[in-house]
Structure formats: C-alpha cells, structure tokens
Amino acid sequence: MAFYQKEGVLKDGTRVILRPMTAEDRDKLIDFFKRVDEHDLMFLRSDVRDPAVIDDWVKNIDYHRVFPLLAEVDGKIVGDATLHMRKVGWKRHLGNVRVVVAKEYQNKGLGTLLVNEIVELAAEFGLEKLVAEIHLQAPAAIALFKKAGFAAKAVFEDLVKDPTGKKGDLLVMVCDVQGRDRGA
C-alpha cells in the first residue's frame, strides 16, 4: 500500500501526522513503547517492549487483517491505534479497535483523533460496527470512546486480571460506523 498521511491538530495546538504503519517503523515503535505508561501496558495483548514482537509486527504487516494507524510528532511516534478485521465468518462485518497513547500525549485529544480516524476507516473498509474492550476502571478511555460514538453494551464482572492478579471488570463498547454524518 502506498505511503500516505493526513495532519490533525491536538487540543494544545500540536500538529500530528496520522499515517499507516510501514516496515520502516521498527525503531520508532520500539522507542514509542518505551514512552508508554507502565500501567497502560497491562491492557495490551503483546509484550511490546520485546523488540522481537515489534520485528514480527513490521515484517508481517497485512492491512487486510490489521490496519495499524500511527500518530507522529516531529518524527516520533506518539500514538498507535489498530483496526482488527476478519474477511470471513460471522464477525466479518465487525472490527475491533485498540488504542495506546504515549504518556506525555495523554489528555490532549490524541486518543479521540485516532479513534475517530479508525471509525472513518472502518466505514471505508465496509465494516458495520466497531467493538472496543475497555477496563471498567479506565474512565479516560471510556470517555474517549464515548466521544467517538461508542456506547456501552455489556460489563463482564471480574473477567480480567492485572499483573498482580487483581480481578477487574471488562466493558464492551460498540459503535455503528455506517451513515455517520461527517465522513467521506
């Protein structure tokens, strides 16, 4: 896929480049995940501080399966949102979205910018709904997804565990992506 990008502006006026991840992003990603809050790493599926994980990501980019959207400021990655898709099966019309933002760029509207872009891309890819799984004790993340048009659909009590083994509740939020009155 060709390299392309778009500019966005954060609440404090910072200009951010949004673009898909490419194979050349390995070192930038390793640097980015060093700047992600330790607490936020708990919500990720992979050990992103292991360079082998990043190597695997950049060597196996498949935009049809996972569309990784990066936010960049002055050549540094400051946010990463991923849209996960399936081409077949009973969930082929659904996408899952995950987002992680560098600690120093939190509360600046970057998460909202990334998720809004993922919602627009999901509509472009022909998906109908997006699903996000969020820890119930993560109010900032819940507010972010609400702002992007997601609604809370279910809470699974004591379903997830933090690194210490303490149980937590998982919130599932869903967003209709077609027919939103703002996209292309």
């Binding site: 392309y4 891309l121 703002r182 996209g183």
Partner: protein, 246 residues
C-alpha cells in the same frame, strides 16, 4: 419524462463509459448526476470530458466540494483524503469552473435531487431517523414526491405512506412501479465505487409518467480501472475494493 439516475462516479472512467453506453439504449430525456464526480479513482479529467458530451444535469457532492476547498476534506479518512489531494493535483484548471457552478440540489417536475440530503452534501440517509428527517422536509414541498440522493454508494428505496409509516423496500431486479400516494427517496447506487457487494456499475431509470424506478447495473473493465489507480500511486485498497464491490 424518463430520467437516468447516476451518482458517485468517483473518477472511474471505465465504469462511466459502460453505464453511459447502456443509458444510450434506454431512451431517456435527461441524465441526472447526483454528485461526486471526483475522488477515489484515477480518471477525473476523462470522466468530466465524457460527461460534458452528454445531456447531463449535475450537482455537487462532498468530494466535488473538497476538490475546490481542501478544508472540506479534513474529516475524510486518510484514504479518501489522499485520493482527493491527488484529484486536486490532476484536475485541469479549465474544469474548475464546472465544479464551481454545481448546485447543491436540483428540482424538476415532482422531484428533488441532492447528493447526501437536501440540506447537506455530507449527511447520509442510512438510518430511519435520517430518512424521516428528509421526508419531513419533503412534506413542506407540496410539489415534490420523490427525492433522488446518492453518497452512500448503496442502492436504496425508501417510502413514506399516507399514514406516515417510513421504511425501505428491497431492491428488485425488475422495474418497480411506485405508489402515487407515497413519498419516496431513491438512491441509484454508485457508478464508480459500488459498496453493496455487487461490483457492477450501478444506475437507475426513473419514469415519472409510469411512476416507476428500475435499478440496474452493468459490468465494466474493473482490471483497467484498478491498473489506473495503482499507476497513479493511490492506495492499493482503492483498487482492491472495486472487484469486491465494497
């Protein structure tokens, strides 16, 4: 009067040629283009040249407006955004006057035409509340019984009966004779980037005397359109989707 309805050509020359060849056989009085001549695909100038050879009434879509004013594309996703930037670079300066002259809506005998909705080229008619909003607007226009629209790239036929019930009807392959006591919203689908799973170029024929609509589609040289996209350096996904009709 027989109208050929076309929409969302999106710079797909092969699809437009195919549709116009079919329309020539249809004995129509006029062709109504519901907007978005540019964006996504790779032949904006060629499509406009072809359209100008025919008796076509056009109106502005959100991509046509973004071609003139890039700020309007700020909320486009990065793929659509990239494509409109490319169109802005490619479009011949002498064609800009055509886009500046496009109205947002058109009215004819008993019908209203728009891209998204009568009040916005960017708004959609997908959900019930969105259809209802447009029907409520139409009820204040005593002479308008049908509103033609595009933007979603999916064929649709909405009705509002005399009791106020609003719903969509399944799209039939055959000609559909409409009820003169109802109001209708009709979307012919997209010529250049259909998204309803059928990759053929979509259009429709509306006959106001018979009060009927016939949704049609025609195959075209998708491979050639895809090659143009890839050659232009536009996102690969824009080529892939044409074969899938998404």
């Amino acid at each position: 009067m027989r109208l050929a309805l076309i929409s969302d050509i999106h710079s797909n020359l092969e699809a437009l040629e195919s549709v116009l060849r079919q329309i020539e056989k249809e004995d129509v009085d006029v062709i109504l283009n519901l907007g978005d001549l540019v964006g996504y695909n790779a032949s904006p100038n060629e499509c406009l040249e072809l359209l100008q050879e025919k008796p076509v009434l056009s109106l502005a879509g959100n991509h046509d407006l973004a071609l003139l004013e890039v700020n309007r594309a700020q909320h486009f996703n990065i793929i659509a955004y990239q494509a409109i930037l490319w169109s802005r670079e490619q479009i011949k300066p002498e064609f800009l006057h055509f886009f500046r002259s496009l109205p947002l809506t058109r009215e004819g005998q008993g019908f209203l035409a728009c891209h998204g909705t009568p009040s916005s080229a960017e708004a959609y008619i997908v959900f019930h509340f969105q259809g209802k909003r447009v029907f409520n607007y139409m009820r204040h226009l005593s002479h308008v019984q049908v509103c033609f629209f595009g933007h979603t790239h999916k064929r649709a036929l909405w009705f509002r009966d005399i009791r106020g019930k609003i719903a969509t009807l399944p799209i039939a392959r055959e000609k559909m004779v409409l009820d003169r006591t109802c109001l209708y919203l009709i979307n012919p689908g997209s010529v250049g980037q259909p998204r309803d799973g059928n990759p053929e170029a979509a259009y429709a024929i509306f006959d106001d005397e018979e009060f009927s609509v016939h949704f049609k589609s025609v195959p075209y040289d998708i491979k050639s359109a895809q090659q143009r996209i890839l050659k232009a350096g536009l996102p690969e996904f824009l080529a892939e989707r044409l074969a899938q009709g998404i």
